[in-house]
């Protein structure tokens, strides 16, 4: 109850004109930055930091945080409308959001993403307010050994996203893992696969690859298609969100919110991995897994709830322990220092008014974003009425700018175009692009944590079963892998998700048609 009082107080404080204005500014900028393909929250927060600190005190951090969670709303927009992920955490939204738009349900998909973002945000905020301190202590229990187990478990869950040919799925996964190895070896030091190019030294930016692989590929394929898409099937109804969908997707919203929050709290994992796990979990436990990837609202609900929830979860270690768990929160930590606050375990004690006002601004910002995006939905969805012959050249220019603006680097533009070309080849040869992005995100985390564990244990593998969290996760992993096989052998019951993978999914390859 004490917490409720503090929170209500904080919301009151956050309604002060100066803080309200900077929250709104942050949220709206975040929306735009999220929607701009390539630019994501970490680049957006970094770009805005020098300006935001001039607002001073709480207003500065409210603005920066607004950009972070605003971007989670905005990322879905281009993912759904154009099949181009607006930022890394909205890559999974492309899988069902874009097919929905192609079916003439753009408004419905956007509406779903807004609801999901809002619910995920509420869940993340509630968790942040109620559980900040205990959950951040819990997150510390995850060292390299536990993280290795967590990644193994994640990979076993996402295996449902492999597409209909498991060999091709694995090939794409390995390709993704290989791409994830480009750059300086994070554990031993030497450069790997950089071919002497200093632009490759820091590795490839995931959002650049994703924008190329999904967005540019979709546009490249349109070259061989007929020039214009049939716009006649779009109606006013297609532009409006449907409130019923939120009820129908309640389980996906709940599981997405929980997964997003828990994964978001873990340092070094991040919102993108959370969306992948959330989408995979939704598919695995769905009654109609075969429909995932063909344009269903559940496929939008799960990742969008997860990325918003994760954005709040991600801020928890920063505020409670002074640990930035991601690039975005590292910049926020810089912001805290610049306004003269010392991030650390005592922030909650010494600056509780700041913390609660900031949390208050999150509630205000989250609510404002819902109204803003719902109002914009029909307008945004009508972008699909524009002829692709006019739309695509403009979009390509915008994408190129977004990719360039991440690090002001021409190299990223080249990488995006190459990724687009590779995407085209993969599509022609019928290799699924999703395992590639999974490999690119989860592969480096798996590799680093295995190698860290091996340094810690001096090469002793038994640590994986000696640590209780790690043991539990490995048992769960084995369960996820083996159970369907046992079921199949015993002919007990068909697991819909695996069955769907085994059978052909013809709609899969039509995704970007």
């Amino acid at each position: 109850m004490e917490i409720m009082g503090l929170l209500i107080d904080g919301i009151g404080q956050a309604m002060q004109p100066s803080i309200l204005a900077s929250t709104m500014l942050g949220a709206i900028l975040g929306l735009l930055i999220g929607a701009l393909p390539g630019l994501g929250p970490s680049a957006g927060v970094a770009i805005m930091l020098p300006i935001a600190v001039t607002f001073g005190g709480t207003a500065a951090i409210a603005c920066i945080a607004g950009i972070y969670y605003g971007a989670m709303f905005g990322g879905a927009i281009t993912s759904i409308l154009l099949g181009i992920p607006g930022d890394a955490p909205s890559v999974m939204t492309v899988l069902d959001g874009y097919p929905m738009a192609l079916k003439g349900e753009a408004g419905r998909a956007l509406g779903m993403s807004v609801f999901a973002s809002f619910i995920g945000g509420l869940f993340g905020l509630a968790g942040m307010v109620a559980l900040s301190v205990p959950i951040s202590r819990w997150a510390l229990a995850f060292g390299p050994t536990e993280m290795t187990a967590m990644m193994a478990f994640s990979l076993s869950l996402v295996s449902v996203l492999g597409g209909r040919n498991s060999i091709k799925g694995f090939a794409a996964l390995v390709l993704g893992m290989w791409v994830g190895m480009i750059g300086l070896d994070p554990i031993a030091g030497p450069a790997r696969y950089t071919f002497g190019q200093m632009d490759l030294f820091d590795g490839l930016d995931f959002s650049v690859v994703a924008v190329g692989l999904f967005g540019l590929t979709a546009m490249f394929t349109s070259v061989s298609d007929k020039i214009d898409r049939d716009a006649a099937s779009f109606s006013l109804r297609s532009l409006l969100p449907r409130f019923r969908d939120a009820v129908a997707s309640r389980w996906e919203l709940l599981s997405g919110s929980i997964i997003g929050f828990v994964v978001g709290v873990l340092p070094g994992v991040g919102a993108t991995a959370a969306t992948m796990l959330s989408y995979a979990t939704a598919k695995r436990f769905s009654r109609r897994p075969e429909k995932f990837g063909t344009g269903i609202v559940e496929g939008v609900a799960a990742p969008e709830a997860a990325n918003n929830s994760a954005s709040y979860g991600n801020m928890i270690p920063l505020f409670t322990l002074g640990i930035p768990g991601s690039a975005t929160t590292a910049v926020m930590m810089g912001g805290l220092l610049m306004i003269g606050l010392q991030p650390g375990p005592l922030l909650f004690v010494n600056n509780s008014e700041f913390i609660w006002t900031l949390f208050g601004s999150f509630w205000v910002g989250n609510l404002a974003l819902v109204f803003l995006t719902l109002l914009l939905t029909p307008l945004l969805a009508s972008i699909l009425f524009i002829s692709t012959a006019l739309l695509y050249p403009v979009i390509i220019a915008v994408v190129m700018f977004g990719v360039y603006a991440i690090e002001f680097s021409m190299a990223n533009i080249v990488i995006a175009i190459i990724a687009g070309g590779i995407g085209l080849v993969l599509m022609e040869l019928d290799y699924p692009p999703v395992p590639l992005v999974l490999g690119l995100v989860l592969g480096p985390m798996l590799e680093r944590n295995i190698r860290r564990t091996m340094i810690q244990s001096e090469g002793d593998l038994s640590v994986f079963v000696q640590h209780p969290i790690s043991l539990t996760l490995f048992i769960a992993t084995a369960f996820v892998i083996v159970l369907p096989q046992i079921m199949r052998v015993l002919k007990l019951r068909k697991i819909p998700a695996d069955e769907a993978e085994a059978e052909a999914m013809p709609a899969d390859s039509e995704r970007t048609a």
Partner: protein, 326 residues
């Protein structure tokens, strides 16, 4: 009002003094350069916005502006990428150009050694240094190790570092050699992850900058054992140095500025004057030293040049010992 007028007058007095100083040292030899600087100077930051290097560079630029030490502006510009190689090479290739400037960082030394950059420290002119950041060796509050010598009791220790080659890795090696105990370094992806690893008890010891360690020490979650500077740090008056404890371990991160190779000696002299004034100014103290708990310490160009060569040598030896380079 009165105060601001006064300080404006005061700094105007200073600007003429300093400009006169620069111009005098320039005029003595080359009349053509008499009015350096005649246009704005770009300060290249080879890293993203919001990081340590960015804050350092922008604060220096800001203090120079506030004190009106130069008649032109300093324009900070972020050029991240390639572990600093993109930004540093863009400066290093501008041979003789006195209108680009950069701060040094760990990557300034390590990326060239790892073969990732077309330029190395030899392609730059050291101008001067204005502060040093010591490192503090910490253990979790619950650790059995209460003093530095307690670490000798351990069979083997682990530490977390950011990347393979870093100041923390270097200090771990030095501590390991000094105490005669094996310390294995586990590379993580950022200070935050190292902090999580030590607080979670996944590594035994860690080395942090004062500003990272201080909040945890105050909160009682980490215990400091020793600092790596030659003298005790103001932020931790009760924490002994390694030297006091009988170990010859001194290594700090030097905050200094460089220009491309072959800039005129008059330009270097001008910047030495500017940096000395920055280092001694109250603005620098409140905006940087007090906030990040660095040790204020001015070094002239020659001293800084020696320090740079020393530091690079230390990293090179470490990388050879670790087998990162041959």
């Amino acid at each position: 009002m009165t105060h601001s007028t006064l300080s404006a007058l005061w700094s105007r007095g200073r600007i003429t003094a300093v400009s006169a100083l620069c111009a005098a040292s320039l005029m003595a030899t080359t009349p053509a350069l008499a009015d350096y600087p005649e246009r704005d100077i770009s300060m290249i930051i080879p890293f993203g916005v919001g990081g340590g290097s960015d804050t350092l560079a922008r604060t220096i630029a800001n203090v120079i502006g506030e004190l009106k030490l130069l008649p032109v502006q300093i324009l900070p510009e972020n050029r991240p990428g390639g572990s600093g190689a993109v930004g540093y090479s863009s400066v290093g290739k501008e041979k003789g150009n006195p209108y680009v400037i950069a701060t040094v960082s760990v990557s300034f030394f390590t990326t060239p050694l790892q073969g990732g950059s077309p330029v190395s420290y030899r392609d730059f002119t050291p101008l001067g240094a204005i502060a040093q950041s010591p490192y503090v060796l910490v253990v979790p509050a619950s650790s059995e190790y209460k003093t530095l010598d307690d670490l000798k009791k351990a069979k083997r220790l682990t530490t977390g570092t950011v990347g393979v080659v870093s100041d923390a890795a270097l200090l771990a090696k030095m501590t390991s050699n000094g105490l005669g105990v094996k310390i294995d370094a586990v590379p993580f992806d950022g200070e935050g992850e190292v902090m999580a690893a030590i607080l979670g008890g996944h590594v035994n010891v860690a080395y942090f900058n004062p500003s990272e360690a201080l909040p945890q020490i105050k909160a009682g979650t980490l215990r400091p054992l020793a600092v790596s500077s030659a003298k005790r740090a103001d932020a931790f008056p009760d924490v002994p140095t390694f030297s006091e404890l009988g170990h010859n371990i001194v290594h700090t991160q030097i905050r200094g500025l460089v220009m491309p190779k072959d800039v005129k000696p008059e330009v270097v002299a001008c910047w030495e004057g500017v940096l000395k004034k920055v280092a001694e100014s109250p603005q620098w103290r409140t905006q940087y030293i007090d906030r990040f708990h660095d040790v204020p310490n001015f070094m002239n160009s020659a001293e800084f040049a020696t320090a740079i060569a020393d530091t690079s040598g230390r990293y090179e030896r470490l990388m050879k010992e670790l087998g990162v380079i041959k």
